[in-house]
Amino acid sequence: MTVTRAEYCVIACAEAWRGDGEVLASPMGLIPALGARLARLTFAPDLLLTDGEAMLVRPDGTPEGWLPYRRHLEFVTGGRRHVMMGASQIDRFGNQNISCVGDWARPKRQLLGVRGAPVNTLNNPTSYWVPRHSRRVFVETVDMVCGVGYDHAGGARFHRIPRVVSDLGVFDFATPDHSMRLASLHPGVTVEDVREATSFALTVPDDVPPTREPTAEDLRLVREVLDPANARAREVS
């Protein structure tokens, strides 16, 4: 069976937590959640995971700690956490918007609100997941800065955006001015595809590596253990 695009996305999300050590992985969305659990079961066994509510749990669901919202916010400010949030809009310096589209005073579309994006981005590593890479999401300027990008962070002590994962590839900010760079392409995607779906100028290295292949064990875990009902195919097809 060939590896699906959704499976490459799971791998690319999992890799966000590589080398993080004993921190809380906070994935938002199905594919980031599969990625975090895959990382925990393979190369990042010290990661902490929640049940999505108030408990820290092992991959089999066994509770190992209590994490109600008030303590979750302390995890954020304590910095031992790496969150992967969604983004309704994201720009070339990593500013992210989930609040509203249009003029904030009277929005064209009210979305979630800033939620915890400001506290997340100033306190712990914050990555992003975009299931449908398009010009409407990868915009020149976001309508409301919720997650703080490199050009707004003013060198804040704990600000870091390790990566942005989309259905087309992986992006980071490893450029001199911390603008977005294409870090890897999912197999089957071209640089041209990414450029067409992005409103701003991306840095594209001469040689863009492919997103890594899943191991046989990765595929077994994703297909048989973590997501046997193949819900991932509904998020990315």
Partner: protein
């Protein structure tokens, strides 16, 4: 020691238009919905509502009771975008103080501790500062010299919360996995009205449950309302989960029609 029991309508009769009102719970979880419905039956309006928003905000916004909202989000959890709040925002019907979740918590903590502000490492660099031009920053007087947002105290005229059990004196107990911030809402408020699934004798509170489930102290509570199902359709673990069908009905029914049904004599409340 005083018996603080009252009905939901009696509790709401003590509220006045123009108040700053904190509402406990989180999103569509353990919201004091029986008290919110009583508020909708009353003529209290022009409220400044402070809430980790859910259908409480949606209903009050749809009914035109909110002048100003202080929130980081409004959501129904299983339905990510609250439709009535959304409509109110898109027609420019409410004034919004949009702040981050942690700024909100620090604001409640400042109020509960009678501090004018608390420094918080959140908000700087984001448009929270642009849309709240009244927010100020504070610089550490120590060697680090770091700059923080000085999150102002979210002092409340009144708070509404819902818990699993309470005694008649106002000691409140949560039995689910998350206390949310209900104790802080009560401590940050001049008056707090706490509904509960069941009023029990004080000795019953710790007969089976551990003492740390005693979330809310009577010194912070003005009135106790027994309201079985009083969080419905939001969740109230472990007594009941969210009534997803009822929530879907709320989210998909035009407000005037839904409000007509809602304001009929309540079937699920014990008050």
């Amino acid at each position: 020691m005083g018996d603080k029991t009252m009905t939901a309508d009696e509790a709401v009769a003590r509220l006045r238009s123009g108040m700053t009102l904190g509402i406990g719970g989180w999103g569509s979880r353990r919201k004091p919905m029986a008290l919110v419905r009583a508020l909708l039956r009353s003529d209290v309006r022009d409220l400044t509502v402070v809430s980790y928003g859910g259908p409480d905000v949606g209903m009050l916004a749809a009914a035109g009771r909110i002048r100003k909202l202080v929130a980081a989000f409004v959501t129904l959890d299983s339905i990510p975008l609250e439709p009535h709040y959304r409509a109110a925002r898109e027609r420019g019907a409410i004034d919004l103080m949009e702040i981050d979740e942690a700024m909100f918590l620090w604001g409640l903590r400042a109020a509960a501790n009678r501090l004018p502000f608390l420094p918080v490492r959140a908000g700087l660099g984001s448009d929270v500062m642009r849309v709240n031009p009244g927010l100020r920053t504070v610089t550490s007087p120590y060697d680090d010299g770091e700059t923080f947002v000085a999150m102002p105290a979210l002092r409340l005229d009144a708070a509404l919360v819902h818990v699993n059990r309470a005694d008649r004196l106002g000691n409140g107990q949560y039995l689910g996995p998350d206390p949310y911030f209900d104790d802080l809402f009560c401590a940050a408020a001049d008056e707090a009205y706490m509904s509960c699934e069941r009023i029990v004798d004080t000795a019953e509170l710790t007969k089976e449950a551990a003492p740390q489930t005693l979330l809310i102290g009577r010194h912070t509570v003005t009135g106790v309302v027994e309201a079985p199902g009083g969080a419905h359709f939001t969740s109230c673990a472990p007594d009941y989960g969210r009534d997803e069908a009822a929530q879907r009905e709320y989210a998909t029914t035009p407000w005037p029609e839904y409000a007509g049904r809602l304001l009929d004599p309540p079937a699920r409340e014990g008050s």
